[in-house]
C-alpha cells in the first residue's frame, strides 16, 4: 500500500512540475474596460502657439491616465469643418502625434482647431486647441492633378448643355487654396462639361495601377449629379489620343447631394474600357505609363431632364492608399 502511495505521489509531483504556469495574460487589459479613470497629467500639446504643417511639422500630445485606456482624440476645424480622429490604447499619449491630415476635407491655414480627448466606457473628456499656421502639402503623396490654383494645370471643356463652367475664387469655400471649379448643366444629356488635365507620359511614377487611387473633393446639392472620370492612353506614342488606335478608360460614380464637401476616392482597378462615342477596346490592358490625359466630367446618374452639377477642388492621384 505504501508503495502505491509513493507511486501516486511521484506522479503528482511530476505533473505539477511539468505543468508550469504562463506569465502573460490573455484578453485585453481588464483596467481598460473597468478601471477607474483618473487623469494624472492634464491634456496638452507641444504646439501652444500654433503649428505649420507646410514645414512638415507635427503636433505631439501629452496626458497620463491611471489605467490603460482606449482613448480617442478628435480634432475639428472651426472654419473648415474638417475632422481627424486618432484612437489608441495606453496609459499615456507618448506616441501620439498629428501631421495635419484629415478624415475628409482639409484643415485650413490660420484655422483654430478644437481638440477633444475622450475615452471608451468613460464620460471624461479633456479639451485643448491648436492654431494651424500652414496647411500640410499632400501633393507629395502622389501626383497632384489640379487644385484649380494654376490655370496651366487644367483646361475646361463645355457642351451645349453646360450652364455653368467657371473657376471661382473664395478661400472660405475652397478645399485647398482659394480656387475651385463650379460646373453644372441642364438637360437629359449625360455630358455637361469637364475638367481636362494633360499628363506627361511617364508622369505617374507608380507603375502598378492597383496601387493608384483617384481622389477629389466634390460638393453638390443637385440630386442625381454624377462624375465620370475618363482616362486616355497614348499607346502608339504619337503624343495624342487617337480613337480606334488608343484606348480610353472610364469610371462613373454618383455624388452625395448633401450640399457639403465630400471626398471621393477610388482605385484604378475600377476603370473599365470606354467603348462609347467611337472609343474601342484595343488590348484591354491599362498601362499607366501610356496615360496622357484625364477628364473629370460633369454628368448625371440617369438620363432624365434636370439640373446637374457640383463644385470640385483638389484632384490628386495617390499611391498605395487613398487620400
Amino acid at each position: 500500500m505504501v508503495k502505491n502511495f509513493n507511486f501516486i505521489t511521484v506522479i503528482f509531483i511530476f505533473l505539477l512540475l511539468i505543468s508550469c504556469g504562463k506569465e502573460d495574460y490573455i484578453g485585453p487589459p481588464i483596467e481598460a474596460q473597468f478601471g477607474e479613470l483618473i487623469i494624472q497629467e492634464p491634456f496638452s500639446s507641444d504646439k501652444p502657439v500654433g503649428v505649420d504643417f507646410s514645414l512638415n511639422d507635427t503636433v505631439r500630445f501629452f496626458s497620463e491616465f491611471s489605467i490603460s485606456a482606449n482613448f480617442n482624440i478628435n480634432i475639428s476645424g472651426r472654419n473648415s469643418g474638417a475632422n481627424f480622429t486618432i484612437s489608441g490604447t495606453g496609459k499615456n499619449l507618448s506616441n501620439v502625434f498629428w501631421a495635419g491630415n484629415s478624415d475628409n476635407i482639409f484643415f485650413k491655414q490660420y484655422e483654430w482647431c478644437d481638440v477633444v480627448l475622450s475615452f471608451d466606457n468613460s464620460d471624461t473628456t479633456l479639451s485643448d486647441s491648436i492654431l494651424i499656421l500652414g496647411e500640410r502639402d499632400f501633393s507629395n503623396l502622389g501626383y497632384l492633378l489640379t487644385s484649380y490654383e494654376d490655370p496651366s494645370e487644367y483646361g475646361l471643356v463645355n457642351s451645349q448643355n453646360t450652364t455653368q463652367l467657371q473657376v471661382l475664387n473664395n478661400s472660405s469655400i475652397a478645399i485647398h487654396g482659394n480656387n475651385f471649379l463650379d460646373i453644372s448643366g441642364e438637360g437629359s444629356n449625360t455630358y455637361f462639361g469637364a475638367t481636362r488635365i494633360s499628363i506627361l507620359l511617364g508622369g505617374i511614377s507608380e507603375p502598378n495601377k492597383s496601387n493608384i487611387f483617384f481622389n477629389g473633393f466634390f460638393k453638390s446639392d443637385l440630386n442625381g449629379s454624377a462624375v465620370v472620370v475618363k482616362m486616355f492612353e497614348d499607346e502608339n506614342n504619337d503624343g495624342s489620343y487617337d480613337q480606334g488606335i488608343d484606348e480610353a478608360w472610364t469610371y462613373k460614380f454618383t455624388l452625395n447631394s448633401n450640399g457639403v464637401w465630400n471626398k471621393e476616392s477610388f482605385n484604378f482597378d475600377n476603370f473599365t474600357v470606354d467603348q462609347t462615342a467611337g472609343n474601342v477596346q484595343i488590348d484591354g490592358n491599362l498601362n499607366v505609363g501610356n496615360i496622357i490625359r484625364l477628364d473629370v466630367v460633369c454628368s448625371q446618374n440617369g438620363n432624365s431632364f434636370g439640373n446637374f452639377g457640383y463644385f470640385v477642388d483638389y484632384l490628386i492621384l495617390t499611391y498605395n492608399s487613398s487620400l
Binding site: L15, D24, G27, I30, G35, I67
Partner: protein, 564 residues
C-alpha cells in the same frame, strides 16, 4: 395517422411472414396539472396553468430477425382541459434500429445515445444540485427524460458502429465509431454540420488504455459560405486498477479553426491533462482526488456544450413586477419548468460551436464541467456510509486557479466546498415506515485581488446553495414531503467574452446580490414501486438587491406517474 398505419403495417407483415419477431412492450404514463401565479402585487401577468396534460409513452422493442432489432417510443398525448380530441397528438419520441453486423460488431442507427470522456463528448449535469429530496427529484427526472438527458449521454441522430474482441484470456479490445448530423444546411448560407467520433480501448483486469478522437465540422461546399469550421479533440486515457486503488488519467489536445479555406488560417490548439485516483479506504469510506489542467484555448464542443440554454428567457413569467423587469433562467425553471406540450424548452439539445452562455449565479468554477477552459487545480471527494446505512455523507472540495490570467497577470482562485447527507431516522429509531432527512450545502467562490493602482474592483463572487428535505411516511405508502432550497449569490466577476476564434475580446462585469428560495410541501402516495401520485404546493421567492426586485411565485402541482 401515418405513424399508426406504419406501425400496423410493420406489425402485420412481421407477424404473418416472420418466424422471428419477438416484441417487448414497456412504457410510462404521466399526468401533470399545475397552476402558477405571481403575488398580488403583480396585476399584469396572467396565471400560468396546465389542466392535466396527459402523456403515454409506449416503448416497443422488437427483434425483427437474427441481426436486426427495432426500438421505438411512441408518445400519445392529450390535455384534459378540453373534453374532446382536439388537443390530442401522437409523436415519435425515439426510433432506433440496432443489431449485429458480425459476431463482434454491432450497429445502431437512428436516435442514438453517445458518450465518450468528460473532455471529448460528455453531457454535464445542470447546475444547482447538491442533495435534493424526492419532491425536486421527481421533477428533475421528468425534465431529463423529456429532454433526452440520459446520464451524461447526448441524444443524437446518426449511426454508431461498435465492437469488441478478446486478445488474451481476460481482456478485450473495444472500438466505437459514430457520425451524426448536427445542423442541416439551408443550401444558401448555413452549411451542414457533422459530428464524427471514434474510440478504441484495450481493457484488462488491471489496465485499460484508450484513444479517442472527435471532430465537429461543417461542409460548406455548394453554398455561398466562405468559412469552414473544424474542431478536433484527441485524447488518450489510461487507467490502472490495484486492489483498493484505481488510478485514472486522460490527456489530449484540441485543434480548432473556422476559416478552413483560407490558406493563412491558423489552428488554435488547446491542451488538457487530468489524473487522479479512487481509494476505497474501507467498505464504508472511499476517497477520490484528481488534478487537472485545462488550457485557455481548449475547445471541445462535445463536452463544453451546456445542458441548459441560458440565452433563452424563462418560459414562465419571463418578466415580473407588472412586466417591468426581465429575469434570467433560474433554479425553479430548471427543475419545475415541466411542460409536456412545449416545443421550445430551455434545455439545450444541440452541440454548439463556441462556448455557450451560462448563469454565473450558480458559480463560475466550472461552468463547462471538467472541460472548462483555463482551469488548473485539485478536486477531491469523500464518501462515508455506516454499515446500517443510517447515514450517508458525501463531501467534495475543489481548489482551482486560472491557468493564465484574464486581462491581468494575477490569476483567479476558485474554490468549491460541498457536503451532502442522507439520514434515515426510521432505521435509527426503529420505525417501520420511511422517515428520512436529507440535506446539502455547497459554497463556491472566485477571487482575484487587483493592485490598488489598477483602480479596478477585486473579483469576489460567492454562490451558496442549501438543500433540505424531509420524507415522513404517515400511513402505509402515504408520505408527507417537505423541501427547502435556497440559492444566495453575491459579488462581482469579470466574465470573458470570446470571439469565434476562441480569443477573449472583452469582458462582462457580472454583479449580483440575490436570493432564490423554493419552499415546498407535498403529499405522495405510492400505489406500488412504479406508480405514484404527488400533490405539491410551493412558494418561490426571488430577491435581487442590485435590480431592487423581489417577487414570489406560487405553484401547485398534481403529478401522476405510472411505469410498466
Amino acid at each position: 395517422m401515418r405513424i399508426i398505419l406504419t406501425y400496423t403495417f410493420i406489425f402485420s407483415i412481421l407477424t404473418i411472414f416472420g418466424q422471428y419477431p419477438k416484441f417487448e412492450i414497456g412504457g410510462l404514463s404521466r399526468a401533470l396539472a399545475d397552476n402558477s401565479f405571481l403575488d398580488e402585487m403583480d396585476t399584469v401577468n396572467n396565471d400560468v396553468k396546465q389542466d392535466f396534460n396527459l402523456v403515454f409513452d409506449l416503448a416497443i422493442n422488437g427483434e425483427l430477425n437474427e441481426f436486426i432489432n427495432f426500438y421505438s417510443e411512441l408518445r400519445l398525448g392529450n390535455s384534459l382541459e378540453v373534453f374532446d380530441t382536439s388537443s390530442s397528438y401522437i409523436n415519435l419520441r425515439r426510433i432506433l434500429i440496432y443489431g449485429k453486423l458480425s459476431k463482434n460488431t454491432s450497429f445502431e442507427i437512428g436516435d442514438i445515445d453517445l458518450k465518450m470522456t468528460p473532455f471529448t463528448l460528455w453531457n454535464s449535469q445542470e447546475e444547482g444540485t447538491v442533495n435534493e429530496n424526492r419532491l425536486a427529484n421527481n421533477f428533475r427526472d421528468i425534465q431529463r427524460y423529456e429532454n433526452f438527458n440520459n446520464g451524461n449521454f447526448w441524444r443524437r441522430q446518426g449511426l454508431v458502429i461498435k465492437g469488441n474482441k478478446s486478445v488474451f484470456k481476460d481482456d478485450t479490445i473495444s472500438y466505437k465509431s459514430f457520425g451524426t448530423r448536427e445542423l442541416a444546411s439551408n443550401e444558401i448560407s448555413t452549411p451542414d454540420v457533422f459530428l464524427y467520433g471514434s474510440e478504441i480501448k484495450y481493457q484488462s483486469n488491471i489496465i485499460s488504455l484508450g484513444l479517442n478522437h472527435i471532430d465537429l465540422f461543417s461542409n460548406y461546399k455548394g453554398i455561398n459560405y466562405d468559412t469552414n469550421l473544424n474542431n478536433h479533440v484527441f485524447s488518450t486515457n489510461f487507467n490502472l486498477n490495484f486492489k483498493k486503488i484505481k488510478l485514472h488519467s486522460e490527456f489530449g489536445f484540441s485543434s480548432l479553426t473556422n476559416t478552413m479555406n483560407n490558406i493563412d488560417s491558423k489552428w488554435i490548439k488547446g491542451e488538457f491533462l487530468n489524473v487522479g485516483f479512487n481509494f476505497d479506504i474501507s467498505d464504508n469510506l472511499s476517497f477520490s482526488t484528481s488534478f487537472r489542467s485545462v488550457s485557455e484555448d481548449f475547445s471541445s464542443p462535445g463536452s463544453q456544450s451546456k445542458r441548459i440554454n441560458y440565452s433563452l428567457v424563462p418560459s414562465m413569467f419571463a418578466q415580473t413586477n407588472n412586466n417591468t423587469i426581465s429575469r434570467d433562467i433560474s433554479l425553479s425553471d430548471i427543475i419545475y419548468g415541466v411542460d409536456f406540450m412545449r416545443s421550445n424548452s430551455i434545455y439545450n439539445r444541440t452541440i454548439d460551436y463556441g462556448l455557450d452562455n451560462f448563469n454565473p449565479i450558480f458559480g463560475v468554477i466550472e461552468p463547462y464541467g471538467l472541460a472548462t477552459p483555463n482551469r488548473r487545480g485539485v478536486s477531491s471527494d469523500l464518501t462515508f456510509s455506516d454499515s446500517l446505512k443510517i447515514i450517508t455523507v458525501n463531501a467534495n472540495f475543489s481548489f482551482l486557479t486560472d491557468l493564465v490570467g484574464e486581462g491581468i497577470n494575477t490569476k483567479r482562485n476558485y474554490s468549491n466546498y460541498s457536503i451532502a447527507f442522507d439520514f434515515s431516522l426510521n432505521k435509527l429509531l426503529g420505525f417501520d415506515k420511511q422517515f428520512v432527512l436529507n440535506g446539502g450545502y455547497s459554497n463556491s467562490s472566485s477571487k482575484r485581488d487587483h493592485p490598488i493602482d489598477l483602480n479596478v474592483q477585486n473579483v469576489n463572487l460567492k454562490c451558496n446553495i442549501i438543500d433540505l428535505g424531509l420524507e415522513l411516511e404517515i400511513l402505509k405508502n402515504l408520505s408527507v414531503l417537505g423541501s427547502y432550497k435556497r440559492l444566495f449569490s453575491n459579488g462581482l466577476d469579470y466574465l470573458s467574452i470570446r470571439s469565434n476564434d476562441f480569443t477573449i475580446e472583452s469582458y462582462n462585469a457580472f454583479q449580483c446580490d440575490l436570493v432564490h428560495e423554493i419552499s415546498s410541501l407535498g403529499l405522495a402516495y405510492d400505489f406500488n414501486k412504479k406508480s405514484s401520485v404527488l400533490i405539491n404546493y410551493q412558494i418561490l421567492n426571488f430577491s435581487d438587491k442590485i435590480l431592487d426586485n423581489s417577487f414570489s411565485i406560487n405553484q401547485f402541482f398534481v403529478l401522476v406517474q405510472i411505469k410498466f
